[in-house]
């Protein structure tokens, strides 16, 4: 019985409990964290249940209040969003456990209930965006996620309120654009249900109004997912936010945006609309190519680890766009795999940045000297994440990059291929710069081996509740890499539209 209700539960559980946390927090702040952890753990079980059912029985349709589509709100979960749901659930649970002690330094204790409320609301929004099969419902949940993001980012260090405000203005413009897009579709077809739209839209493909609506969608979601050149809000907002918040938002929020774009281009609109009718894929490809190069160069110029990682996110979004722009099975497989992989990689790197900040109070790469003596575990996790982003097998980042490369070769988009390869090299410079600073201790040519005055080698002073999630994420990166074949065979190959 409960299995039937899973698509609703995964959104409703965190939504209700976010309110509960707020109320309980007034009474005893120590109860907030256990509630959040249990909630997210439950969500993870729901998500796994959904994925298991989807693999066994195919797409799940769930009608809220038993109102039949296209009038009622319908949740449709196929292989694509089931995979995204599970990844979101895993990462948010691990980040929540990490958050327990990580917030010590950054969030005043009096604000903890609000923090956890917003945390859960954020996750609610992300689950909802992923699960829904209704264009307007998606807008509502997008705004739930966005508004909780604005508020939770503003809790950060000096200047975070300004960054959050800037983000709010950008985000609202994006939301308006998306809503206008929904309006266009509704005027043209009278429907908001995705499956219904899939049926109705092909007849209207030559309508100019539809093209305008489609463009609004791209711009709106593009702002939310931080595609170049609509990314300008992203570095400030994610750098100045509390470490935990960056560790939650940076991996998940942008990637869910990427999911929405794939959903709109490949499900709501027929792929032929963007491939044959209009040169959408070419435009996306060029945007991705320029964006990746721009973001890589900007990242090179940063000395703040978190800000550098923010530009890496912008570049990673470009990677996903390249997969979409290849417009073939291999490329899209790479894009979907990269959504999942990048969630783990970014979670890994941002939690490491947070842990380093927790112990040493700095994010400046050039102050990382001797860090390998005091934080060996954290840095080992960092190396795993960094090598994954650079694309060293058997870390997962390599595998998605491999499919992206195959996709561009098959599509004969040589510029995109070159961008993929060159950007990997720039990534190598970026991350080895950090590794060099953290691990190497420049010394004179014939200095004695027994150095003095440097910190002794110790285990990290970061609490275990932060280290363990980081280690799990790092293990996840390696396992996702090794088992990428299984994931593709059992899940992703069904998520790619037949027509490609």
């Amino acid at each position: 019985m409960i299995l039937e209700q899973l698509p609703a539960l995964i959104v409703v559980t965190p939504l209700i409990l976010s309110l509960v946390v707020n109320v309980v927090g007034l009474w005893d702040k120590r109860l907030c964290f256990p509630i959040v952890a249990v909630t997210l753990f439950a969500c993870l079980i729901w998500a796994i249940g959904i994925l298991w059912r989807v693999i066994d029985h195919g797409t799940i349709h769930y009608c809220f209040g038993n109102w039949q589509p296209p009038w009622g709100i319908e949740y449709v979960i196929d292989h694509l969003n089931a995979l995204v749901l599970v990844s979101v659930a895993v990462v948010s649970l691990l980040v929540a456990i990490y958050a327990k002690r990580a917030v010590d330094q950054e969030i005043p204790e009096s604000k903890l209930p609000q923090f956890y409320t917003l945390f859960l609301l954020q996750v609610t929004g992300l689950f909802g965006i992923t699960a829904t099969g209704d264009m307007f419902n998606l807008y509502v949940l997008l705004e739930i996620a966005s508004f909780s993001a604005y508020a939770i980012i503003a809790m950060g260090e000096r200047g975070a309120d300004f960054a959050a405000f800037r983000y709010l203005i950008f985000g609202t413009i994006g939301a308006c654009a998306y809503l206008l897009g929904v309006g266009y579709l509704y005027i043209l077809t009278g429907s908001l249900n995705m499956a219904d739209l899939t049926q109705l839209l092909p007849k209207l493909f030559y309508s100019k109004a539809l093209l305008v609506g489609f463009s609004f969608f791209l711009v709106g979601v593009g702002i939310k997912m931080g595609i170049f050149p609509l990314h300008t809000w992203l570095p400030d907002a994610y750098t100045l936010a509390p470490s935990t918040v960056s560790a939650l938002l940076a991996p998940l929020y942008t990637k869910v945006g990427a999911y929405v774009i794939i959903r709109i281009i490949f499900t709501v609109f027929d792929p032929s609309f963007s491939i044959k009718l209009y040169p959408v894929m070419d435009i996306l490809g060029w945007i991705a190519a320029i964006g990746i190069m721009f973001a890589c160069i900007m990242a090179l110029a940063q000395s703040d680890l978190k800000r550098m990682l923010c530009y890496v996110i912008v570049a990673e979004m470009g990677y996903i766009l390249i997969g979409i722009a290849s417009a073939n099975r291999l490329g899209l497989t790479g894009a979907i795999l990269h959504i999942v992989n990048d969630m783990f990689m970014m979670a890994c790197l941002f939690t490491v940045a947070g842990a380093i900040f927790y112990q040493t109070g700095t994010r400046n790469i050039y102050q990382f000297r001797y860090l390998h003596r005091t934080m060996p575990v954290t840095l080992a996790v960092f190396v795993v994440g960094a090598l994954s982003v650079v694309g060293v097998p058997p870390m997962c980042g390599f595998f998605s990059k491999w499919y992206l490369i195959l996709g561009t070769i098959q599509a004969e988009k040589w510029v995109l291929l070159a961008v993929l390869l060159i950007s990997s090299l720039i990534y190598a410079i970026l991350f080895f710069r950090v590794i060099e600073n953290a691990y190497l201790e420049p010394r004179e040519a014939h200095a004695s081996a027994h150095d003095s005055g440097h910190p002794a080698v110790t285990l990290d002073k970061v609490p275990w509740s932060m280290l363990v999630p980081m280690l799990l994420i790092a293990a996840g990166i390696i396992l996702l890499g090794i088992f990428s074949g299984k994931i593709i065979m059992h899940i992703i190959q069904f998520a790619v539209p037949e027509s490609l």
Partner: protein, 495 residues
């Protein structure tokens, strides 16, 4: 060809991987236990690899599929004759170098020894992985692991020059890897498979231009690790690393992995037929002949012993590729023999350079006059190694050079025979002054009475020197390098 399914290849790889982590977790507090892990891992690995030798000699292939990745791609280990040569070489010399490392690192009381032994084991994991890979995809994975694991070894000294050398190393090798990644993608796109096949598998796929492009990209990619001129610059710089690293990684594991991959590309991806159709073999042969000669001329001018040896390595690596590029059965056999034989001889020379450094802190050849009186055992071993590389019988270098010369004749290209002979002459020209100076000149900077390096340093040198001699007298002794090379040549040309 018969296939045997077995987990042995995986176990051989895991021996060094698990060893690496045991080393890491034991750490610096108990150095004896840590070194025990190193040697134990090395011996176990060698035993596992030797246990597969009988099957391979019977012409069977030992196979283990780790996991399937995508249609036509799997993480797969396949042990064939050619892979066996490299795996045997790397794992056998790892034992020797482990013992040597212990003596060397303790003799100099170096810092960060745990990191050193950890990365060493990891690098061996990569190198044997490269040897045992059944397809390009798996090979690329281990190739990258090898590249990354060697980086901390290159920068080990952490002096500004070491860090600069490390950056150079990464810049060259990661750029090379990018070329490989591109070629790998293109190969998969053209053929739909990445499995190595003796004699190649790209025949009939893609236009001539595309295949030529693919070949060039492959050779640039793997050639960066094989230090073909003009992409060799990182190798002499990387000589800043501790000597055992130069010995194993720059005479055996890393650069040999580079040539091994080049040979895989030439013989197992493209194959003789395609290459002679495209006429690419002659281009490649001329291209590497350039490195063969120029590297030796540069070696003449080097006063730093390790740098001279580095250029001699570049010369030999290019000779190996030249042998394969001739596409004749004798040439292939000679090239495949030179891989292990050069490993044995060059490791002897490097370890001698290290022994001299441990004892006297001398690095320049001009200061080593008369060293033969202080360290006669070391210099005797050095003489054997140098004679072998020059091609003087009965040291094993002669055997491989002999077959390479036959290969050049078989291919009816006298010019390459000249290249090989001139190169041997130059070898003599830069090795014999060292030997002459060591034994017949008066000591200036060294003592004139017997004072050898520690026994843990000298013993491995003696062993590899004796090994070089024995392989010269009995090229098929113990681990059957000769038979393996002949079988590989037969498979490539006949099947």
């Amino acid at each position: 060809m018969e296939t045997v399914h077995s987990t042995t290849p995986l176990l051989a790889l895991l021996a060094s991987l698990i060893g690496a982590f045991l080393i890491l977790f034991t750490g610096g507090k108990r150095p004896n236990l840590r070194e025990l892990w190193t040697i134990l891992a090395a011996v176990t690995k060698f035993a596992f690899i030797c246990s597969m030798l009988p099957y391979v000699l019977q012409g069977k292939i030992v196979e283990y599929t780790i996991i399937e990745i995508y249609k036509g791609i799997a993480l797969q280990l396949r042990v064939d004759t050619f892979g066996m040569i490299f795996a045997l070489l790397a794992s056998c010399l790892w034992i020797v170098v482990s013992v040597y490392s212990v003596g060397y690192m303790r003799g100099l009381s170096e810092h960060a020894q745990t990191r050193y032994f950890f990365c060493f084991a990891l690098a061996l994991f990569g190198a044997t992985g490269v040897a045992l890979s059944g397809n390009l995809f798996t090979l690329y994975m281990f190739y990258e692991i090898l590249t990354i694991a060697t980086f901390p070894l290159v920068v080990h000294k952490e002096t500004p020059e070491a860090i600069k050398a490390g950056r150079k190393y990464l810049a060259y090798l990661l750029t090379g890897a990018t070329f490989v990644l591109f070629s790998m993608g293109l190969t998969y796109y053209l053929t739909g498979t990445l499995d190595f096949a003796p004699g190649g598998f790209v025949a009939g796929h893609g236009s001539k231009e595309l295949l030529s492009l693919l070949f060039v990209a492959f050779i640039i990619g793997f050639g960066s690790k094989a230090a073909i001129m003009p992409i060799h610059e990182w190798l002499p710089s990387a000589m800043i690393a501790p000597t055992p690293v130069s010995a194993l990684l720059h005479a055996v594991a890393v650069v040999k992995a580079g040539v091994f991959c080049c040979l895989r590309v030439i013989l197992y991806i493209f194959g003789p037929e395609v290459l002679s159709d495209l006429g690419l073999w002659i281009t490649l042969a001329y291209f590497v002949s350039f490195s063969v000669i120029v590297a030796n001329i540069i070696a003449l001018t080097q006063d730093d012993l390790k740098r001279r040896l580095a250029f001699s390595t570049i010369n030999n690596l290019s000779i190996i590729i030249l042998g394969a590029a001739l596409l004749s059965s004798q040439g292939i056999r000679g090239a495949m023999l030179l891989i292990p034989f050069h490993g044995f001889m060059k490791i002897t020379l490097f370890m001698c350079a290290g022994a001299i450094y441990v004892k006297t802190h001398l690095e320049n050849i001009s200061e080593m006059e008369g060293i033969g009186r202080q360290m006669p055992i070391t210099m005797a071993a050095f003489t054997i190694g140098a004679a072998g590389l020059t091609g003087i019988p009965p040291v094993c270098g002669f055997i491989s050079k002999w077959y390479l010369c036959l290969g050049a004749l078989e291919a009816k290209e006298i010019i390459f025979l000249m290249v090989l002979l001139v190169s041997a002459l130059l070898d003599g020209a830069y090795f014999f002054p060292i030997i002459y100076g060591a034994f017949f000149k008066r000591p200036k900077f060294v003592k004139s009475k017997f004072d050898e390096a520690p026994v843990l340093v000298v013993a491995p040198i003696v062993i590899t020197a004796i090994g070089s001699l024995l392989f010269g007298l009995f090229p098929d002794a113990f681990i059957h390098f000769f038979k393996l090379a002949s079988l590989s040549a037969k498979n490539i040309l006949g099947g």
